[in-house]
Structures are given as structure tokens and as C-alpha cells.
Symmetry: C2
Subunit: 342 residues, 2 copies
């Protein structure tokens, strides 16, 4: 348990994560990548979430992501498998959004102790997830660093191959949300600060043990997304992860905005908001709020997309449409009557 007294008005920044600084780091990386591409004279094609390298008429992508401080909940409860699962699925969901099929995975585990059981658990989860998405685990690195890591950190890199194009989003295209399975792997620095200031991990919260709520595995969307692209039913897919709904901007054209009716979020998100006094706009910048994937489709395909989502045992919501009004500002009408712009 953290010894923090909870005040009203928690933000991601107060919890230690400054999204502006993160944005600055990201921009520096993007500029550096472009400079390198010019210098090496390598043609790199940009997806919305990944970059592709041409090789013998194939478009290959590499993508990397880590499970964040969800690992601290896993360590406290000695349940490591979900970290391996999330590490793979968090990446393959992203790669699929650019219409690329995952081919191979490598993992990186940094840990404080010589904890063989923890590493076995992580590997078990990686194998389950790799098997599910049909990607081959090609190797990994385990670094034992007692002075550097307070627990366990898990990241994965995924190799993907582009299987087809994505579409251009037009005004009046329809935006469909797909249910998540808990927090997935984002916002844990804030969620932990807020929730563990009030609760213990074995307390009942929202009718369930808190540790269970916080360790739900990330939903696997890659099969659904690739199917929908393959049958030309969607133009774009957005995995709601770091930056949450602000990521939607990456698929919008110039001058386009979104006006969305957001469904009531699952109890755990409402609990974080109310216990932490977190601004609702901040909530939608940090968490998936029950909507882990967003699909953008031509109005004629809405019914087919909704049916496809249900066939994958996920819940769809028609959230709204692409507008010309907001010039990159996303306007979210919440189920409780509030309206936030992010």
C-alpha cells in the first residue's frame, strides 16, 4: 500500500507521468527517425501507429510496448502470466490497426530478483498470447538488475507484415467502439495512486477483488481487426492505449473532428474518477473507459461491423461520426450529461 493521503484532483502528471514531456520525447524520436531515413536513403512508409520498411515487395513493421506498472500489481499478488499475455497482445493490437499481421515476438524482462517463478509465469503468458495470434516467439532477454528495477518490467517487440491498405476517413464516416476488458495496460501509475490510497488489493471493489479487477488481461482484437480490413468493412482501427482517446486524432484528416456519445464506463473507471477526484477529460486522456478499440467505417457498413464485433464476443457501440466542425478537437458527450473536449 502506498502511504499517500488522497486529495481531490489527481492527474496523471501528479502521479508522476507528464504527458507533455512524453509528447516532447515522442516528437524528438519522430524527427530523428525522419532524419535517419533521409540519411540512409531508406523509404519508410508511415502507418498511423507504426512504420513500415520495404523488403522484397513486402512491408515489414517492428513495434514495441511494455506493460507499465500493471507489473507492480502482478508482483504484489504473484500473478505474472497476465504480464506476458498483455505484452504480446498490446503490441499485436496496435500492429493490426495498421492492417499488419503479427509474425514474430521477442520479449525483454528486467527484474530486481533472481525470481525464476516470475520469469516462468511471464513466459507462459507470452506463449499463450503468441499461440493465440499465431506469432512465433523468437527469443528474449532477461536482465537481473537489483539496483535499477523495483520489481519486474516486461516489454515486447513484435514483427508484423502489412497485409493490405487502410482507408481514408471521410466526414460522416461512423465511429464504432468495442468493449475492453478492464484497464488493459494503461494508466496504472494513476490508478494505483488513487485506488491503493483507499483500498487494499484484496478489498472488494465494484463487486470483485481489486487485484482481479486490475489484472484482467488485455482483450485480443487483432483477429477481429484483420478480418474487418480483409472484408473491407472498416477504414481504420484505433487501439485505445497510451494517450487513450487522443490517439483517435492520428486517423483523422485535416479539419476533421469527432463528436461521440460515450457509453457509461465500467464501475472501476468511475471508482478511479470519484476516489481520485480526477477530471473527466483527464480520464479520457489516460484510460480506455471501457472502450478498448475504435473502428471507423462507411455508414453503409455499420450493421456488418456491429455483427462482426458480436461474433467475436465483444460489445459494440455506435459512438457517433466524423465531423468537419472540430478541427482536431474531440468532443465527447458522456453518459452522465457532461461534455468534455480532449
Amino acid at each position: 500500500m502506498l502511504p499517500t493521503v488522497i486529495n481531490v484532483g489527481w492527474t496523471y502528471r501528479r502521479a508522476g507521468v507528464d504527458l507533455n514531456a512524453h509528447h516532447e520525447m515522442h516528437n524528438y524520436a519522430i524527427d530523428s527517425i525522419r532524419r535517419l531515413a533521409r540519411e540512409l536513403n531508406i523509404e519508410v512508409s508511415e502507418g498511423a501507429f507504426t512504420r513500415f520498411l520495404s523488403l522484397n515487395n513486402m512491408q515489414l513493421t517492428l513495434h514495441v510496448d511494455g506493460v507499465g506498472t500493471k507489473s507492480m500489481i502482478a508482483l504484489a499478488t504473484h500473478r505474472f502470466k497476465v504480464l506476458g499475455w498483455d505484452c504480446v497482445i498490446g503490441n499485436t493490437n496496435d500492429v493490426a490497426c495498421d492492417n499488419a499481421k503479427p509474425l514474430a515476438v521477442v520479449d525483454y524482462v528486467a527484474l530486481r530478483d533472481n525470481d525464476v517463478d516470475a520469469v516462468r509465469g511471464v513466459i507462459d503468458g507470452i506463449i499463450d498470447a503468441s499461440s493465440k495470434v499465431n506469432a512465433m516467439l523468437l527469443g528474449g532477454e532477461t536482465a537481473i538488475m537489483p539496483d535499477l528495477v523495483n520489481g519486474i518490467d516486461v516489454a515486447c517487440a513484435v514483427l508484423g507484415i502489412r497485409v493490405g491498405p487502410t482507408g481514408n476517413v471521410k466526414t460522416s464516416d461512423v465511429v464504432i467502439g468495442v468493449s475492453s476488458n478492464g484497464l488493459h495496460m494503461n494508466g496504472y501509475s494513476l490508478a494505483r495512486r488513487v485506488l491503493l490510497g483507499k483500498y487494499r488489493l484484496n478489498d472488494q471493489v465494484c463487486g470483485e477483488e481489486l487485484s482481479n479487477l486490475l489484472l484482467k488481461p488485455t482483450a485480443d482484437y487483432s483477429g477481429l481487426i484483420l478480418d474487418l480490413y480483409d472484408s473491407r468493412l472498416i477504414k481504420r482501427a484505433v487501439h485505445v492505449t497510451g494517450g487513450a482517446f487522443t490517439k483517435l486524432r492520428r486517423v483523422l484528416g485535416p479539419g476533421q473532428g469527432l463528436s461521440l456519445e460515450m457509453p457509461e464506463p465500467p464501475c472501476i473507471f468511475q471508482e478511479i474518477q470519484s476516489v481520485g477526484g480526477v477530471d473527466w477529460g483527464e480520464m479520457y486522456r489516460v484510460f480506455n473507459m471501457g472502450v478498448g478499440l475504435v473502428l471507423i467505417t462507411d455508414p453503409n457498413n455499420v450493421d456488418d461491423v456491429v455483427k462482426a464485433v458480436r461474433r467475436w464476443n465483444l460489445n459494440p457501440w455506435v459512438l457517433g461520426m466524423v465531423t468537419e466542425d472540430y478541427q482536431g478537437v474531440l468532443s465527447l458527450n458522456l453518459w452522465n450529461g457532461l461534455r468534455v473536449k480532449i
Copy 2:
């Protein structure tokens, strides 16, 4: 500075890194990978250091490695560029040893603070190294995790493509060592414990400021290695990293051993050994001891290999030959008259 009093007999294990536990983790991963390959019915070909996936008649590999606690020296002196450089080169050296050319890189940086300068420095080093080895940086992830990381952790994954075969090692093949540039990125948990118990980072050690000695960039061997494979001058290359000279076993056939005359290691390694009272065998299991790369060649090619190494401004040593005597035991005759088996 660490407040530790240095006793005689430091080992990697006492410094927090248990190579037996690490070995157990590694074996579990290998078994899991083999099980997954059978389950997915994917043919994976095993290099000595990486695994290859077949895709349209190409053999692709993914490899991951991190810079370890060298980052703690970088953080203390605010010199981050070397971390990005090492992160790429540590991987590309390994990939080249399996005769694969690096194509693309992604990085993963986990850090305690919203330290934009640190991340910029790391990215600068990644770009320099990627440019040097002609690999494209395709993306990365920066995770700010104040509760999980005491400083900065940097790992990279590299995509490589196999460009040719490696050879089978025979009895009487010759073993050639190639000079390293300092500790590269291995053994820092032990080196820091030992050296920082006696010295400060700005003390003069071995005629140089200690921080400079500990932050020398990893030597880039990939161009040399790929040239030597291409001209059929070597059968195998071994990058001396985690596990140090024990890695040589991976390229030996059944029943083969090595008997090598090791050159005098640079002063910094002798300093670590004497200050820490570290067993000499342990030194050769943990550190590169001045020999960052080992090449194995037919006796007829020794002169050409030695010349090629010199052309790359690196120092070669003819260390000895492959024997039938040792059955996997490596016998090292040290310059000081001692003999160690590892």
C-alpha cells in the same frame, strides 16, 4: 557512491546476479519456444545466438538486448548517448555472428523521471549507431514509471536477415580474439559494486577518469563479421557478452573443447579483479577481458583474418585452437601463468 565495504571474493552472484537462475530462466524460455513452434507448426531455424523465421524464402531474425546497469553510470554523469549506441550495437553484433545483416531497430526506454534530455541523448546514440550499421529505426516506446525504475533502462530489438550460412567448427580450427573497447555492456552490476566501493566516478583509475573508462561505447563488429563471412574467411563469430567466454560453447561440436592463451587484459579488468578479489574464472565468465569478439577459422585463413581485423582498426590475437580433449570445458591459460577452466 555505494556505501558497501569491499571484502575479498566478490562474485556476480553476491552482486545480485545469479547466473544459475539466469540459466534456468533461459532454458525455460527455450523449451517454451520449441513447444510453441510445434504447436503453430512453424519452422524455426536455430542460429547459435538467434532464431530465424522463414518468410518468402528469406530467413528473418529478431533479437533483443539491453544495456544493463551501465545506465546507472550514464545517469550519474548525465551522458546518455552511449546507452543508445550500445543498445543498437550490442544487438547488431550478436545478429551478425549468425551471419545476418541488421535491417531495423526499435527501442524501449523505461525511466523514473520525465527527463526529456535523457531520452534525447539515448535517441541520438541510437541514430548514430543505426546510421553506422545501416539499420532503420522504426519506432520505440518510452515508459515513465517513477515507482518501478530507479533511473533509466534502455533495451533495443533488432530485425535481421540472414545473408549466408555459418560453418561447422572442426578440431584444429584456429581461434582468433578481437579487441574490445572497455566493458561494453556486461558485468556492470559486479564492476559497480567493486569499483564504486573504492573509487568515485571522477577519480583517476588506470590513468583515466573512472566514468570515462566505464562509459566507453561498445565496439561495432558487425561490418567486420559480415565481411569475413561473405569472403568465407571464418566459420563462426562469437560476441563476448552475457556469460562472456562461456558463450564459446555454443559454436562447438560434440566433444570439442578449447585451449586458449589469453592476452593480458586491459588495466580496468585487472583493477576489478584485484579490488574485488574476484576469482579469475569468474572474471572470464562475466567480462570480455579485452576480447570482445572471437572468430573461428580454418588454419589456412588465419593470416587473412588477422589482416582483415587490422583493416577495421581492431587488434587481433591468435588465441589457440579447437581441441577434442575438453568435452565442452574451456581451458584458458592466462598471461600471468594462471590457468582457469570455465
